[in-house]
């Protein structure tokens, strides 16, 4: 009979409480790893709100503020990039593709974003994930609109719905472009990014409603809007008439865009182009590397991560405390067993190896079980999370932080088990040998 079999037989004898100890510890481990995963996914998801885009270009401003307006649609646009400059950069031989972005209108509080179909082709987020349509088509006509998942869901819109855009941002919109309703032609799948809260229309559509607006209401400035169309003089009256009459082709080429995204043919050229744009003599522009700016922004909102980290630490602490309780109980149960073994001559090292063996086995199986539990839960809940939150959780092996945490649990488990075992050994033998009723 080996010491191993003595330990295993003893554990089998106390099966119920051993199982409870392992299960509660495993839950703690799963919770700890889960919180850690969420922390990583939150950071990862955030810093991958946009990916595969090499540069964001807008009017001169700070990199974070450009990111906030162009990608997160937060804050008001104050300056634009002229169409000519946009064309110049677009035709640069190193540039593979561009996506124009024109902001300033809203629909029931949701951002309206003017762009072209390059948006649906080139925009990527997360791990090179493309935008996908849940239903319908991409933009075809001037008055087509493609909705983000959240817009469609919370407003209850589907294909064919007529929507009216309002000038300016915010729920209490100022002037509505009632003359020219847009038709929903597509709804995007959930992405977990600000795209879910965006109404996408064509640049031409934006241009068209502002032509109409300028002519009908006169030249009015309002908050949250700096559309190029306002700066146009009444000269476009002809164009408007033509539009009303539906006669000839009207030139709906915008004169400005808010910002544009750039994809390079070779990623390594991005920094060079960025420098060129930033020191550009003509129009004052800012080009930012999205990855860098996102990380910068994450550091600003990083308090979320810190809170989650504190939660991780607390979970770790609670797991260890519950483990201490459980091991204390098991030692109490083993008191008599230990006393009997001592009475037949077991030395401290025998007792220690018995207790240590059990503690190692218990914590190790709890760690394995906890990890299995977490991965199983991730695997099972992944589609649901994707559907509800738009976050696709990658199933990856534990990170170094996670390994460290598991290591801490293992070591603490062993140390924690030794303390009561030692106390039990030190207490008088006759106490352990007397049956306490």
């Amino acid at each position: 009979m080996s010491p191993y079999s003595l330990s295993v037989k003893s554990m089998k004898h106390r099966m119920g409480s051993v199982v409870i100890t392992v299960a509660s510890l495993a839950l703690g481990v799963a919770l700890l790893l889960g919180v850690e995963r969420i922390r990583n996914e939150a950071r990862y998801g955030f810093t991958n709100t946009i990916s595969e885009t090499d540069l964001i270009v807008g009017a001169r401003s700070g990199s974070v503020s450009l990111l906030l307006t162009s990608i997160f649609h937060i804050g008001n646009v104050t300056d634009n990039v002229s169409w000519e400059t946009y064309q110049k950069i677009k035709t640069n031989p190193q540039v593979a593709w561009t996506i124009p972005i024109s902001l300033g209108d809203s629909h029931k509080g949701y951002t309206v974003l003017g762009t072209n179909n390059g948006y649906f082709k080139h925009y990527k987020y997360g791990q090179k994930r493309m935008l996908a349509l849940a239903e319908g088509e991409v933009l075809a006509d001037t008055y087509d609109a493609v909705l983000g998942a959240e817009v469609a869901e919370s407003l209850g819109y589907s294909i064919g719905q007529q929507i009216v855009l309002a000038h300016g941002s915010g729920e209490l919109s100022f002037v509505e472009h009632t003359e020219n309703p847009f038709t929903v032609v597509g709804v995007l799948k959930r992405t977990g990014t600000p795209i879910d809260q965006t109404v996408h229309v064509s640049l031409e559509g934006i241009e068209a409603i502002h032509l109409d607006f300028n002519n009908g209401e006169g030249h009015v400035h309002h908050a949250g809007c700096n559309h190029a169309s306002h700066q146009k003089e009444a000269s476009s009256i002809d164009a408007f008439d033509a539009l009303l009459a539906g006669e000839e082709e009207v030139d709906l080429t915008p004169s400005e865009v808010t910002a544009f995204l750039v994809g390079m043919k070779s990623r390594s050229d991005a920094v060079m182009l960025q420098r060129a744009i930033n020191v550009h003599d003509g129009e004052a522009l800012t080009a930012v590397l999205p990855g860098v700016a996102l990380t910068e922004l994450w550091q600003v909102v990083g308090v979320v991560e810190n809170i989650l980290f504190v939660v991780s630490i607390l979970v770790l602490f609670v797991s260890l405390a519950s483990m201490f309780g459980a091991l204390m109980m098991s030692i109490k149960e083993r008191r008599r067993e230990i006393a009997i073994l001592r009475s037949v001559g077991a030395r401290p090292r025998h007792i220690v190896s018995l207790v240590l063996g059990e503690a190692m086995l218990v914590t190790l199986s709890a760690i394995v079980l906890g990890a299995v539990l977490l991965y199983a839960a991730l695997f099972a809940l992944r589609p649901l999370i994707q559907e509800r939150v738009g976050m696709w959780i990658e199933i990856t092996p534990p990170t170094s932080t996670e390994w460290t945490m598991l290591g801490i649990i293992f070591c603490s488990g062993v140390v924690i088990a030794l303390l009561p075992a030692w106390r039990c050994y030190r207490s008088s033998l006759s106490d352990g040998l007397t049956i306490k009723l």
Partner: protein, 223 residues
């Protein structure tokens, strides 16, 4: 070797908390002697055996076994000394519930090199003792699945294995019928004579006392 002092107590006082349980000026047992210890319940018989085995410590006075003073040893030295030289049949048996009968019996051999050195084959020796006690049918059974009298015999076999110099038996026949009780005492005597062991036997059953070299009455007079 017979004639030398195996167990000696001097000016011994023992108290549980404040209550004095035992006061013995002088108590000696010679090697190879068979001593019967009697006395009413609560007179301190079990306490005496606890002191003799080093499981409990005297409040004052000394306990000497085979010329060694137990009080001057550390806890773990006492554990080793007990495992090497003392076979103790506890009143409460103190068997390990999750081990089989045979595993319980051979347990002391795992922890005492001295006792295992006297036994060439642990399993065979355990079987031999169990057979003598009429327990050969139950060797693989867990001890919690035994009757009280059977458990008592397992405890006895565990105390005797490896031929310890001193055997302490705390009411080892309390749960046995008369026939089994006689057979048990026979075996105990046989074993002790074979190894020259000293036997200290605690019992309520004064009929058994006649068969011993000497009897000692706690809470009464020595006869």
């Amino acid at each position: 070797m017979k004639g030398e002092i195996a167990v000696q107590l001097n000016n011994l006082r023992f108290a549980w908390e404040q209550e004095v349980v035992l006061e013995l000026d002088r108590f000696e047992v010679r090697q190879g002697e068979k001593l019967f210890v009697g006395g009413p319940s609560g007179s301190g018989k079990s306490s005496l055996l606890s002191l003799l085995s080093g499981v409990a410590q005297p409040t004052s006075g000394s306990v000497e076994l085979l010329g060694k003073n137990l009080s001057s040893m550390s806890d773990s030295q006492r554990d080793v000394f007990r495992a090497d030289h003392v076979g103790y049949i506890f009143q409460m048996f103190n068997l390990i519930p999750f081990l089989s009968v045979l595993e319980n019996v051979t347990l002391p051999l795992r922890f005492s090199n001295r006792r295992s050195a006297r036994v060439s084959d642990a399993k065979a020796e355990g079987l031999r003792l169990l057979r003598h006690l009429g327990m050969e049918k139950f060797i693989e059974r867990r001890v919690i699945d035994l009757s009280v009298g059977q458990q008592q015999r397992v405890a006895a076999a565990r105390a005797l294995i490896g031929g310890p110099e001193i055997v302490l038996a705390d009411e080892p026949t309390s749960a046995l019928d008369e026939t089994n009780s006689r057979a048990f005492v026979d075996l105990l005597f046989q074993q002790c004579e074979d190894t020259g062991a000293t036997l200290i036997f605690v019992s309520h059953d004064s009929i058994l006392a006649e068969r011993f070299d000497r009897s000692y009455l706690l809470g009464g007079e020595e006869s």
